[in-house]
Symmetry: C2
Subunit: 433 residues, 2 copies
């Protein structure tokens, strides 16, 4: 396909959106990618760079000189430029920064690199529109025209006082319809200004923006001075990442991989959980070993030896998933422990009773063994109660100590409940046999 027919490719690509061009480049090898890239104009090139998959971009940046990288970064919003720069090694970072021609741009990017990438400061951009409260509408429009050149998307104008403290908001719509002579201080709204501090976590920023339906949020420092803004497109990525992270944890995958990651990365993300599960399984084996004489006496006991722990695992995952989700979207508080437990125990009693009745019936139909039926249904009921209890309490405790509660889901909770399940099953059988 890529046989140097440049005018054809150029005409086919030139009108595409950068996100679409990036998708095409993701599929090409480095040399082809560089060739297609060279056909794009500067601004388009920088946007495409930003939209590439992380690993494709990493490979691609390696074949560019630091001067070329610097040229691309100058075209980008400061937050995106800082993100890309942050992916490079320290010495290449310095080289690239020294190659950026516009000093102001360079210092903005360096400034952004100082913030923790998981904080509001790490997400914010330096491009935003600022108005002084004592300006007239006319002066404001003139000043904005100058500022707006570098601000790709204007949502809300931030109104500041002479100390650069954020004191209000002004919508572009309001400005458009105002008489040219009126003053900003008569137009802006100083009620309900929702802002975040630079050291707030990105999860907090996402919560605020989604709760208050904002498309941009101003970022202030500890003295309430306006230092940046965060736009909704960056927050959508945060929301998606968060959701994916919790889902992956619950499935026993760590470290933000995806189906397309390399075999090595995928193995590294999955193996630790499997080893944990393996040790849990060995613990379970030890429990079975302890009760071996019991099995030798009553071989029929062996047939439910996988059902009971498996059910315990499933119930535990259900309970912990609801807690983890509730904590993630802020509808649950750690202090809700008592209410949650009461509800979980009620649900467990209901589900447990129905499942126990079912298994008693089936056991009777298949094996006509009432004693085994009683053992397995009592064990099932008990195990469902235990699993619900652990599934509820453990994530809440982890959260209380500021450990990610999602750790408690997946293989961890399944394995714990496997062992508990086996123990309960044999304990009940000892009582009844």
């Amino acid at each position: 396909v890529e046989e140097g027919n440049s005018s054809f490719i150029e005409s086919a690509i030139i009108d595409l959106h950068p996100a679409d061009i990036a998708e095409i480049i993701d599929e090409l090898d480095a040399q082809e990618a560089k060739y297609v890239f060279s056909l794009l104009d500067d601004e388009q090139g920088a946007d495409v760079l930003m939209e590439l998959e992380d690993d494709v971009r990493e490979r691609f940046l390696k074949i560019l000189s630091s001067k070329e990288i610097a040229e691309q970064l100058e075209q980008l919003d400061s937050d995106d430029a800082a993100d890309i720069l942050g992916e490079l090694s320290e010495d290449i970072q310095e080289e690239v920064i020294s190659q950026i021609e516009d000093d102001e741009v360079a210092s903005e990017i360096v400034d952004l690199l100082n913030y923790d990438e998981d904080s509001a400061g790490g997400l914010m951009q330096k491009e935003f529109i600022r108005a002084q409260m004592n300006w007239s509408v006319m002066r404001c429009i003139a000043e904005l025209r100058r500022q707006a050149e570098e601000v790709e998307k204007v949502y809300t104008i931030y109104v500041v006082d002479e100390k650069n403290e954020l004191i209000g908001l002004l919508s572009l719509k309001r400005l458009l319809f105002a008489s040219p002579k009126s003053l900003i201080e008569d137009l802006y709204s100083n009620k309900k200004i929702i802002s975040v501090k630079a050291h707030d976590t990105k999860e907090f920023v996402a919560q605020q923006m989604s709760k208050y339906n904002l498309e941009s949020i101003p970022v202030v420092d500890r003295q309430n001075k306006l230092i940046g803004r965060i736009t909704i497109d960056d927050i959508i990525d945060v929301i998606q990442e968060e959701a994916e992270k919790d889902y992956q944890m619950a499935s026993g995958i760590s470290g933000n991989v995806e189906a397309r990651s390399s075999v090595f990365r995928l193995t590294r993300a999955r193996l630790p959980w499997l080893v944990i599960a393996l040790f849990g399984g060995l613990l379970g084996a030890q429990v079975i070993k302890t009760f071996e004489p019991q099995i030798a006496l009553h071989a029929m006991l062996a047939i439910y030896i996988t059902l009971i722990p498996a059910m315990a695992g499933n119930v535990g995952v259900q309970s912990s998933a609801l807690i983890v989700q509730g904590l993630a979207n802020n509808t649950l508080r750690t202090t809700d422990l008592k209410t949650r437990l009461t509800k979980e125990v009620s649900v467990a009693l209901l589900n447990g009773a129905i499942c126990a009745a079912l298994i008693f019936t089936f056991n009777y139909i298949f094996y006509q063994d009432i004693r085994l039926g009683v053992t397995v249904s009592v064990a099932l009921m008990t195990v469902i109660l235990f699993a619900s209890f652990f599934g509820t309490v453990i994530p809440l405790i982890l959260d209380h100590y500021n450990i990610d509660p999602a750790l408690a889901t997946g293989p961890f909770i399944t394995t714990l409940n496997d062992v508990v399940g086996l123990f309960v099953y044999f304990a009940v059988s000892l009582l009844l046999y």
Copy 2:
């Protein structure tokens, strides 16, 4: 707290954001809620109504007359009004609609009710800004001022021709800085207009908006006529719901419940999965029963009877989670089957070899039984390969037939792999003993 001290409450609440007032009302009982609600002015009241939790709002709407509901709806954006109306029963819907005074508003809402709530039409609102391409900037601003009264947030102005077909976009920023006499047709951009059709799914809309970083997207009908727009705040809800739904499916919970839902709803959401797992467990029991003579001969075989299926379950969940996530965020295609399988098998070989080596070592240390060690490690390796295969293939097949691949995760895949795991374990033991 709520002792009729109205002026105190009013002053405390009046300056809060509707989302915060809604949070307070969520915690009150119906009578207190109605009282606090009565203190709010009309617009604030409607916004608060929109922000309430679904079940709180449902209870609350029951104590309002259809006239009162109609008054609230008139204050809301058409999409929100249609959403709330859609939650009511058909006859109350009709009553409320007949009580809406403004005929245009009523017909807009009725129109929106016709769309499937999971389609772009079900998400869109009728409030947007439209400009004819032959207008001058001055005329455009005058017309916009009229239209903008009912449009809360203006992002982009949609440019249409005389047949109301969408032909371009114009940013407010561009309009603000244009000379009053220039024509819209010289200002607007007709490149890369990204729009959706009314019958597109909401997942598709979410993908488009997040891929192209849009804060609003125009909705057109089959003839490319402009009929509405969708704003990013509604799409954030879609993204969150989708992610939560997949996570819940993987945890064996169906039907969009949360920790705060009633005991009955929680039970109903969880029981079906437990029953599926129970039947799987019974199948497993049947497998064990078949091999009972083998266990009776070699009782030590029993000790790994839970470890093998549990590991199979974990591996299956890992594989399927990656596929489900890849399909959900569109980084995977159903046609990728061969590539995916090769990669999965490689990962499985690596993880399997390491886990098999571990268990062989531990088995030797604890039980000094080489034959058992060979049996369990061969079985583990085989089972990990099988589980990876099923975990990869089943969600891809479901997706191919347009069934939600998330169905294949959670208890379903665990249970399948439990049964396969048991079978493999005993089959290997038959070969070696």
